[in-house]
Structures are given as C-alpha cells and as structure tokens.
Subunit: 265 residues, 2 copies
C-alpha cells in the first residue's frame, strides 16, 4: 500500500496547517531528565514518568555515603507548573509516593539519593503488600543481580492496562486520579525491564541477559513466585507503546531467568 | 530550589544508564505525519491520534474534486505493526470510525479526501447522537467559519478524562479498549481548538480568534448550546498535557465566540 500523495493538490489550494506552529509547538513533550545515576522521561498527561532508567554496579552499591533520612520528596520544577505532579496531590491520597528508581540503589552519594526523590521519579503505589512488601523485595532481588553481573540496567515505569468487565464482557482501563483537582494518575501496573551484562574480551561472545516483569499495583502475597510476573519483551512493548531493545540482535539475548533463580529469597 | 547536582558522584562510580540506548531508544515516539492538508501526531499507547491539525480556507472548501464514495478506511503502514490501529479492531466494536479531520474538509481533491481515511486520523466515536449528529453539526459549524475568516486552523483529538465515582467519591478515568486482543482506546471526550485569522496590512493590528471545545463521546441532544462545551485554553492544556498557543501573546487573542455566534443553527 503506497502512501497517498496529495502534495500537489494541497499546494494548489495553498494549505499549510503547520503554519500554526509559529504560535508554539503543542507537543507532546517528553521531559527527559539526566540525573546521572538514572534518566527519566515524564508524561505530562498522567503526571507520572513514562519510564526511568538506572544503572547499578557491584561498586556503586558497595559505597555508602547517602542516607535516606537526609532526603525529602520534592516537586520537579523543570516540569511546567500546570503539568507538574505536586506533593499536595499525594497528601492523604491513600497511596505511597513510590520510587521508580529505588532510593536504596543510590546510596553511593547523598546527592544521588536525593535525586531519586524528585516526583518525576515517583508514581502512586499501594503501600501495604506492594511498595513496602512485594515490590520492595523485587527491588532487592534486582540489586542482588550485581553479584553475578557487572552492569545491571533497569527500566521501570507505570502501566494502565485493560481488564475484562465481567458485567458486559468489554475490556476497560480503569484508574484513579489523585489530587484536588484530580492531577496524578494511579497506574494499574508497574513494569521493570532488566538488562544485565558482564564484560567480554571477544565482542562476538557478547551476550545480554534480559527479563521483563509486570505486576499489578495491588497487594501481592510474598508466596507468589516472581516468575508469575515475567512477560515476553514484545508484550511489554505493546502495553507501554515503547520500542524495547530494538537494536539488540535476538541471538545475543539470554533469558535472565535461565541464568539466575528468579525468586524473591 | 536548585537542581541537585550529582554528576561528580556519579562519575566516581562510573555509572552510565544512557549506554542502554545503544540497544535502541525506547521512545515514546510520536509518529508525526504530514498529509499536507493536515498533520497528525499518533499515540502508540492508545492507538489513537494525540492530535490532528488541519487548515481550511474559503477556497479549499469551494473546490469539489473529491467524493467520499471513492475513499476507504486504511491502516497506516507508517506505524510499526505492533502499535498500529487495525480495521479489525473497529469491526463490530459498536463504535464508528470517527474522522478527526473530517472527510468533508478535504473535498478539494480525491487524494486529500482519501488521506483523511488513514486510521491515524480516526478515533472510535459513538455513532448515533454523536459522530453522525452533534459532532457532525459541530464540524459543519467549523467549516462555516470560513465565511468570516480567511484562514481557519483546527486541532482535533481525543481525551481520557476522570469522572467522580459516586460510590466512593474518587475520581477515575474509565475507558473501553476495542479489538481482540484489546488494542484501540475509546476516548471519553474529544476536543477541538479553533484558530481563525484574517490577513491584516499592519502586523501590529494582527489578531487571532480562538476557541476551545470539549465534548463527551456520547449522544448529545441537538438542543444543547455549543457554548456549553467551550473551555478555557489552559483547561484544555491541563487535560491534554499539550502546550497550546504558548507563543501567541495573550493580547492578540480574541475570543472567537464574541465575534461569531457559537451555535449549531
Ligand atoms: Mg518503593
Ligand atoms: Mg465524523
């Protein structure tokens, strides 16, 4: 199917919709922020990150110069005020301010730990049974990967997934929006894409260990096997709308959960 | 509040999360397409446009070389297959394939009319009482603006707005996703931002007539005044996450509905 070519016809009638951009390009903009230990990409419509991407190593986790007690949550003033997630939105919402890059992954410096407290790295998470429990154990599991791999990169973010409504059989996305007026979306799920590597002498032997996980933003029993939440990468691509590892040849990918036990203690 | 600077600390531990982009940048990408009479920006997560932007003039509407009967809906193969809206998704969904740039605005050429049938210009719309009725009358109203203004630019798109759940008092976004497996979001609302201008000899006298409207994707009685759906531009910015007319000085803006009767006959 060839693209329809109407350029000559449109020229004839002298139309130029793009002229409107002289009054400003509408976006959507992706507020991309470089926090060095992690980078984040913010969604102005949901007032959540699209994703955050961090790097941890055995060395970075060994250093301990940051203390969580010295950090406080802060609004990210790089985001225009009208699109910004606010501390007030979370207040008495019933949800935790859930780190996407965990504070505990940035203990190597107080500044780096502090930078994980920007609300551009935060999503509303169910506290009991999730953020303070299963999800926290999952983050601990990810840190543990540095025992086997020298470089671990983790992309984390929220999802808004459809669910079958048993009453009418239709698939629906349903999520709360907290704040008054409503401002910050409460994701239905969260994902992590884990990419783990070790240095090789021969680039031909290079391989990359990969796993993707999706969990509901809800209490999860500690007995639930982590592998219950593993998903194929292309399923995660479909639900995020993101292209994941698209330039990484399939034959270089090893399933992470075949190399390490994907379980939470 | 100064940005936290942890660049030195992060260098010390040699972290570089961005290295992962060598395996491909995840996006979100905005598939921007130039169809000459209109431009579109596609959302890979909702499989709807973010927005489409068209230009109509008295001359473009006068020419009649295109016939709707010669056009057919088509998938947009510029969108990667896994993020693409499909004809199959709409089939028996109960929703119309709702043009965002109306076909009737592109009668000046068959090619231009055809190009409005790409699914990147389409969102699921309630047929009876909306797409075939109130929304169609609204589109007719917009065409009528070319009687008074030489240049009319219209941005149209879907919205997913929260609504108070009377049972628990919480604000929730609820929308259906059509297709099997679920693929295309059904917006709760649609917006149009109308920008109308006439040529001036003196650039200092230049002014721009502007109005923004938001309507529910639901049957609307023909008696409902159009002005019921007018919203301030900054309210539309908040709900779309877009920056609208940000470079247009406020003192050049005239409310369109003060110059023309904003009513649907
Ligand atoms: Mg946490
Ligand atoms: Mg229509």
């Amino acid at each position: 199917l060839k693209d329809i070519n109407n350029v000559e016809d449109a020229k004839l009638v002298k139309l130029n919709p793009k002229e409107m951009f002289k009054y400003g390009f509408p976006g959507p903009m992706h507020d991309f922020e470089d926090r060095y230990q992690y980078v984040s990409c913010y969604n102005r419509q949901t007032r959540n990150p699209y994703w955050v991407l961090e790097h941890i190593t055995p060395e970075s986790l060994k250093m301990r110069n940051g203390d969580r007690k010295g950090s406080f949550f802060r609004e990210d003033e790089n985001i225009p005020e009208m699109f910004r997630a606010k501390l007030q939105d979370y207040f008495r919402s019933g949800y935790d301010r859930g780190h996407q890059v965990p504070a505990a992954d940035a203990k190597f410096s107080q500044n780096s730990m502090d930078s994980t407290f920007y609300l551009t790295n935060i999503s509303p998470q169910v506290g009991q049974g999730f953020n303070r429990d299963y999800w926290a154990h999952f983050e601990y599991f990810c840190r543990g990967l540095t025992k086997k791999y020298n470089n671990v990169k983790i992309m984390t973010g929220p999802l808004y997934l459809p669910k079958k409504d048993e009453k009418d059989g239709k698939f629906k996305v349903i999520y709360e929006v907290i704040g008054n007026p409503p401002n910050v979306a409460v994701p239905t799920h969260f994902f992590k894409l884990v990419v783990a590597e070790n240095p090789t002498e021969n680039p031909k032997e290079e391989k990359v260990s990969v796993a993707a996980f999706v969990m509901p933003n809800a209490p999860i029993s500690n007995e639930t096997p982590l592998t219950d939440f593993e998903v194929p990468i292309n399923a995660l691509e479909r639900s995020t709308g993101l292209e994941l590892l698209s330039k990484l040849p399939k034959n270089k990918i090893t399933p992470l959960c075949k190399e390490v036990k994907c379980q939470l203690v």
